[in-house]
Amino acid sequence: MVLLLLLVALVIPLGLDLYMPVPEANPMTAEKIELGRRLFNDRRLSRDESTSCVTCHDPERAFSTDRPIAVGLLGRVGRRNAPALINRGYGRAFFWDARSSSLEDQVLKPIQDPNEMDLTLAEATSRVGLDSTTMSQALASYVRSILSGNSPSDRFINGDRAALSMEQQAGLQIFRGKGNCTACHVGPNFSDEKLHNTGVAWRPHAEAGGSGLGAGVSGLQAGAGLFADLGRAAVTGLDADRGAFKTPTLREVASTAPYMHDGSVPTLDAVVEFYSGGGRSNPNLDPEIHPLHLTATETQTLIAFLQSLSGAIREGVR
C-alpha cells in the first residue's frame, strides 16, 4: 500500500502536487534525507571509490550528466544516458525501461551495476556500515527531496501573464497543439510516466552497426533493421515493447542535454527537429509520433517555451 507519510515538511514548489506518494514503510525524515544525501555523494559505494551517484547525476545539470552515455568506474561505459533525477518522488516507474516500480528498489541498482559502481550489496553495506534497507530508504528519501518547480511556465499557468514572453506563449500553443507534445509530456511533471517508441533506438539495416544489444526485424518493407536497444522489451520480452522507453520529464530540460535514452540528440533544436520529422519510422513506432512539419518560427518558439521550464531546484530539507 502506497501512502505518503511526510514526517518532514518539504517545501513543494509552485507547479507540483502538494501530495507526493511515499511508501508507508519509508516515511521521510530529515535524518534519513541527510543520510541519503551523504550516500549520494559517497564514493565508497563504487569498487575503486572513484564514483558516486553524483558523478552521473550532477546537481548543476538538474541531476543529470553531459555525457551521452553514463560513464562509471574505470571509465566503463554504460548503456544509456543518466536521466535527470528531479521530481522522481512523483514517479511511478523508474529507469528508462521502467524495470523498477519504486525508488527504494531503483536506488540500489546502480551500485551493483558492473558498468556503474560495481559493488555487491554486501560490500556496499560493509563499507558504509549500514544495512541495505537503511541505504535504500535513505537514498530514496533524498531523491524524493529533489524537486524542481516555480518555473516561468508555472507562474504563467498560475496567473502571472508576464511570466512568459510572447514567443514562449506561442511556443506553449505549439506544445499543446500542433506539436502534440502533451500526448506524452503531460501533467505537473511533463511526463505520463509511460513508455513509448519514438524510433530513437531503431537502426535501419543500412545504419545498423551490430552492437549486439538489439534484435533484428526483417521482412518489413521500408523498415527492416534492428533496435540498438530493446528498451522495455528487455524487461517484458514482448515484441510490442521493443524500442519503447519511458517519457522523461521536461522540467529543467534546457540544462539536461544531451537528450534521449542514449544521449544521441545533442541539443533541443535537434530534439524538436527529430519530432518534427515524425521520429524514426520503425515497426513499433508510437501512433502519436507523426510528422509535425514545424516551421522554423514554430521550432524557435517551442524551444523558447521549453526553456521556460527551468525553475528552482531544491534538494534535501532546506
Binding site: 501512502l3 502536487d17 502538494l18 502533451t182 501533467g187
Partner: protein, 725 residues
C-alpha cells in the same frame, strides 16, 4: 443384434443410475459434513470452503449445487459478509428450477429489505425537477431545506442558479450573472457550513470561474469572484470545509490533466493536492473535521470502475479506502466522521455501503447499509440524511432507445412494414444505427451502465452480435457511427484515454481505435470535431469542425486526406450550425440551418429555417426549402442521393415534428405523413435514421423521452448501521 443392443443399453442405464446414486450419496455425505462444521463446530469459514467444494464437484447436479449455495450464503450472512446477498441473488437468477432453494433465497433477500425497514430507514422523493432544471454536482444545504439547481428556461432561468425550498415548495433565483444565454451559465454549487452562502461555477464565455454569493433573500448579494484563470478552463466546487476556510475543487488544465485541490475562501489561492486521471472524481467531500478529503478515481485508463480514496488536506498522506474490483463511488461522510459512505455494485446490484474511519484511517471491511440504491450523491445533512439525484435517462435526454428496422418506400416516404426490433439484447440501450456498405451488417451504439458505451455489430446472415470495445469514451448524445466504404472499419467521434476529443477509426474486427483527427477541445471551449463521413473512395474523410467561441463561432466541414493527413475546409459557416450530412454518392452536403441550435430554438429569434445543399467539393450553398420552425435537422438521405428527408420541430415542448422529402433538383418539397415523434429530444435526433444500401429498408432508433430528474432523501440509515453494531 437388437437383443444385444438392448442389453448394452440397459447396462449403461443401470451404470448411469448407479453412478448417479453413488454421487448423490457422496454429495449428501459432504453436505452433512459441511452442516456439522457450520452448526456443531461453529466454523463458518471452514463450512464455506466445504460448500464451495460441493458446488465445484457437483456442478451438474443442480439440486445439490443450489442447496449448497444457499447454505454457503447463510454462512456468509452469519459472518456479516455481503457475499451472502450475491449468492442468494445467484440462486434466484440461475436456479429457477430449484424451487425450494429459490424460495429460501428469496425469503432471505426479502428479510434484508425488511431489516432496513425495521431499522427505521426510509427513502422518499423530495422533489421532481422542473423540465428546464438540471443539477450537476451540487450539495444540499446542511439543514436539508434547500437544493441548488440551474434553470435553463428563457427568460426566467437563463442558465442561472436557483434554490429550491423543500419545505415551502418554492423556487428562487439566486444569481444574475448571465448576460448572453447559452454562452454563460452556472453549474456546480455547494453551501457554506452555515448555509448562508453558495460557492458555484460560472462559465464566463471562455472558462469557468469560482464565485461565492449570499443566499439571503431578497436581494441576493453581489457575487465575489474567488478564482478565475484562463489557464484553468474548468474548475468547480465539490464541498466547503466545516471550518469555512476551504473549498474542495476539481479543475482541469489545458493539457487535459485533472486535479483535485483546495481554494482558500479568504483569498482565492489555489493549492493543488493531487493530479489525477482526466475524468476526475465523481464527488469530493471533506470529512466533518475538515482534515481529510475523500474522492473516487477510475482504476484504469479506459474502464469506468472506481475506487475511493482519502487524502489528508495538508497533502501528507493518501489512504486507499475502498479498493475492490467492483465499481465504488463516493457518497459522503457520516456526520460524526466515523464512516465513509459509498455505493458499490459488488453484490451484483448497486447498494449503499459504509466503511469505518477511525483515528484518521479506514478500518475493517465495508458494511452494506441498503440494497438497490441509485443516484448521484448531493451530500448529507447535519442530521445524516443522504440526498441523491436520480436520473431517469439511460443517456442524454432519453430513458430508452431501441433499434428498429422496417421496409421503407423512399419515393413516397412511408413505412411499408411494421418496424421490428433489430437487436434484442440490452433492450432500451441501443442507438445510432449504421448499415455496412454491403448491407450485411448493422452497427450501433449500445450503453452499458451510465458511462460505458460499446459498438455492437449485428450480422443479418447469422443473427450473431459482436461487441467492439474501443478504448474510447463515446458520448452518445450526438455520436455518429459510419462504416468505411471497404467495410473494414468505422469512424466515430469520441474521447480517448488521454482526454482528447476527435474523430477515431475503429477496426471493425478488433475494435482497436486509432485517431484520425484530434481537436483542441478541452474541458470547455476549443474546437470539437463531430459527424465523420467517408468519401466514397475511402481515401478521404470529412468531419465537422465546431468552434464555439463566444465571438466568431463557426462550423466548418473539413476534408482530410487519410494518407497525407492534409486537410482543407470545404465550407465554413458562421454562427451555430446544426448537423451536416453527406449524400451516399459523396457529391453533396445537406444542412438544416436557421434560428436554432442543436438543443432547440434560439430565444428571441424568428424561427426561420432553411435546408441548404452544398457541393462536397465546395461552392455556394443552394437553398432547397425555407419555412418557420422551432428546430430541425436531417433525418437521412435517400439511398439514391436524389432526395433528403428532413424534419422540423413544430412544438419545442412536445417535440412534435413534421417530415419533409426534399429533392435536390429543386422541385417543390413534399410534406409527408411520416410520424417520427418517437425520436425524442431534438438534440438526439440527427443520425438516428439510416437507409439500407438496397434502398428498401431503413434502420432507426425509437426513443422514449426521459422523465425529469428527481431528488431523493434517505433517512435514518445511520441509526440502522449503529443498531447492527
Amino acid at each position: 443384434m437388437r437383443f444385444r443392443l438392448t442389453i448394452v443399453t440397459l447396462a449403461i442405464v443401470a451404470m448411469v443410475g448407479f453412478v448417479a446414486a453413488e454421487q448423490s450419496d457422496a454429495a449428501r455425505t459432504m453436505m452433512e459434513a459441511a452442516r456439522k462444521t457450520e452448526v456443531v463446530d461453529g466454523d463458518l469459514k471452514g463450512a464455506i470452503q466445504q460448500y464451495k467444494t460441493i458446488v465445484d464437484r457437483y456442478k451438474t447436479d443442480r439440486a445439490v449445487t443450489a442447496t449448497a449455495l444457499v447454505q454457503m450464503a447463510e454462512c456468509y450472512q452469519k459472518l456479516g459478509d455481503a457475499e451472502s446477498r450475491k449468492i442468494y441473488e445467484r440462486v434466484v437468477r440461475d436456479y429457477a428450477d430449484q424451487k425450494e432453494a429459490v424460495s429460501v433465497a428469496r425469503a432471505q433477500l426479502g428479510r434484508t429489505e425488511s431489516a432496513e425497514r425495521a431499522g427505521g430507514m426510509s427513502s422518499r422523493q423530495v422533489w421532481t425537477l422542473p423540465p428546464s432544471g438540471t443539477i450537476d454536482r451540487v450539495t444540499v444545504s446542511h439543514d436539508g431545506r434547500y437544493l441548488p439547481y440551474t434553470d435553463w428556461a428563457v427568460p426566467r432561468g437563463n442558465g442561472e442558479l436557483f434554490l429550491h425550498d423543500i419545505v415551502a415548495g418554492a423556487n428562487r433565483r439566486i444569481t444574475n450573472d448571465v448576460e448572453k444565454f447559452g454562452q454563460e451559465f452556472v453549474e456546480e454549487a455547494t453551501f457554506s457550513p452555515d448555509d448562508t452562502q453558495l460557492a458555484y461555477a460560472l462559465f464566463n464565455k471562455d472558462h469557468y470561474e469560482l464565485r461565492i454569493i449570499g443566499v439571503q433573500a431578497p436581494p441576493a448579494s453581489h457575487p465575489r469572484v474567488l478564482f478565475s484563470n484562463s489557464e484553468v478552463p474548468r474548475i468547480f466546487p465539490g464541498d466547503w470545509s466545516a471550518d469555512g476556510k476551504w473549498l474542495a475543487v476539481q479543475l482541469q488544465r489545458k493539457d487535459k490533466t485533472a486535479q483535485i485541490g483546495l481554494v482558500a475562501v479568504k483569498d482565492g489561492s489555489l493549492r493543488v493536492l493531487k493530479s489525477v486521471d482526466w475524468r476526475g472524481s465523481s464527488n469530493l467531500f471533506f470529512s466533518p473535521d475538515s482534515r481529510y478529503l475523500a474522492y473516487d478515481l477510475p482504476t484504469t485508463d479506459t474502464g469506468n470502475r472506481r475506487d475511493v480514496f482519502v487524502l489528508a488536506i495538508d497533502g501528507s498522506r493518501e489512504m486507499p479506502a475502498v479498493v475492490h474490483p467492483s465499481h465504488d463511488v463516493l457518497m459522503g461522510w457520516s456526520p460524526d466522521g466515523r464512516r465513509l459512505l459509498f455505493t458499490s455494485d459488488r453484490t451484483g446490484s448497486t447498494g449503499l455501503w459504509a466503511l469505518a474511519f477511525v483515528d484518521g484511517k479506514p478500518q475493517g471491511t465495508p458494511e452494506q447499509i441498503k440494497v438497490d440504491v441509485t443516484g448521484n450523491s448531493m451530500g448529507l445533512t447535519r442530521k445524516g440524511t443522504l440526498y441523491s439525484l436520480v436520473h431517469h435517462s439511460n443517456f442524454t435526454g432519453v430513458v430508452r432507445s431501441d433499434i428498429q428496422v422496417a421496409a421503407f418506400d423512399f419515393a413516397k416516404g412511408q413505412f411499408l412494414s411494421t418496424p421490428g426490433l433489430a437487436v434484442q439484447t440490452f433492450v432500451g440501450a441501443n442507438n445510432f444505427p449504421a448499415w455496412s456498405p454491403d448491407g450485411k451488417y448493422l452497427a450501433l451504439l449500445s450503453r452499458r451502465g451510465r458511462e460505458d458505451t460499446v459498438i455492437v455489430i449485428l450480422s443479418h446472415a447469422t443473427g450473431q452480435l459482436r461487441e467492439l470495445q474501443p478504448q474510447l469514451t463515446i458520448y452518445v448524445g450526438g455520436a455518429a457511427l459510419r462504416w468505411s466504404p471497404d467495410g473494414l472499419s468505422l469512424a466515430i467521434q469520441a474521447t480517448d484515454s488521454k482526454g482528447r476529443q476527435g474523430i477515431f477509426r475503429i477496426d471493425a474486427t478488433t475494435g482497436e481505435a486509432t485517431p484520425i483527427a484530434l481537436s483542441s477541445r478541452g474541458p470547455v471551449g476549443g474546437e470539437s470535431f463531430i459527424g465523420p463521413a467517408w468519401a466514397p473512395d475511402g481515401k478521404r474523410i470529412y468531419y465537422n469542425r465546431i468552434n464555439r467561441a463566444s465571438e466568431g463561432a463557426f462550423t466548418a466541414i473539413v476534408e482530410r486526406d487519410l494518407s497525407s493527413g492534409n486537410e482543407k475546409e470545404v465550407i465554413r459557416r458562421s454562427g451555430r450550425t446544426p448537423f451536416w450530412d453527406l449524400s451516399p454518392d459523396g457529391k453533396y452536403w445537406v444542412v438544416a440551418d436557421g434560428d436554432f441550435v442543436r438543443g432547440g430554438p434560439i430565444p428571441g429569434r424568428a424561427g426561420k429555417w432553411n435546408v441548404l445543399l452544398i457541393p462536397a467539393s465546395g461552392g455556394e450553398p443552394k437553398e432547397l426549402m425555407r419555412g418557420e420552425s422551432q428546430g430541425g435537422g436531417v433525418l437521412m438521405w435517400a439511398p439514391d442521393s436524389h432526395s433528403i428527408f428532413v424534419y422540423s420541430i413544430k412544438d419545442e415542448f412536445t417535440g412534435d415534428r413534421e417530415v419533409w422529402r426534399v429533392a435536390i433538383d429543386g422541385t417543390e418539397p413534399q410534406k409527408l405523413g411520416l410520424n417520427v415523434n418517437f425520436l425524442g429530444p431534438l438534440y438526439n435526433s440527427d443520425q438516428q435514421f439510416h437507409a439500407h444500401p438496397d434502398g428498401k429498408r431503413v434502420a432507426f432508433a425509437a426513443t422514449e423521452p426521459a422523465k425529469p430528474d428527481e431528488v431523493w432523501a434517505l433517512e435514518n440509515f445511520l441509526t440502522t448501521l449503529s443498531a447492527k453494531k
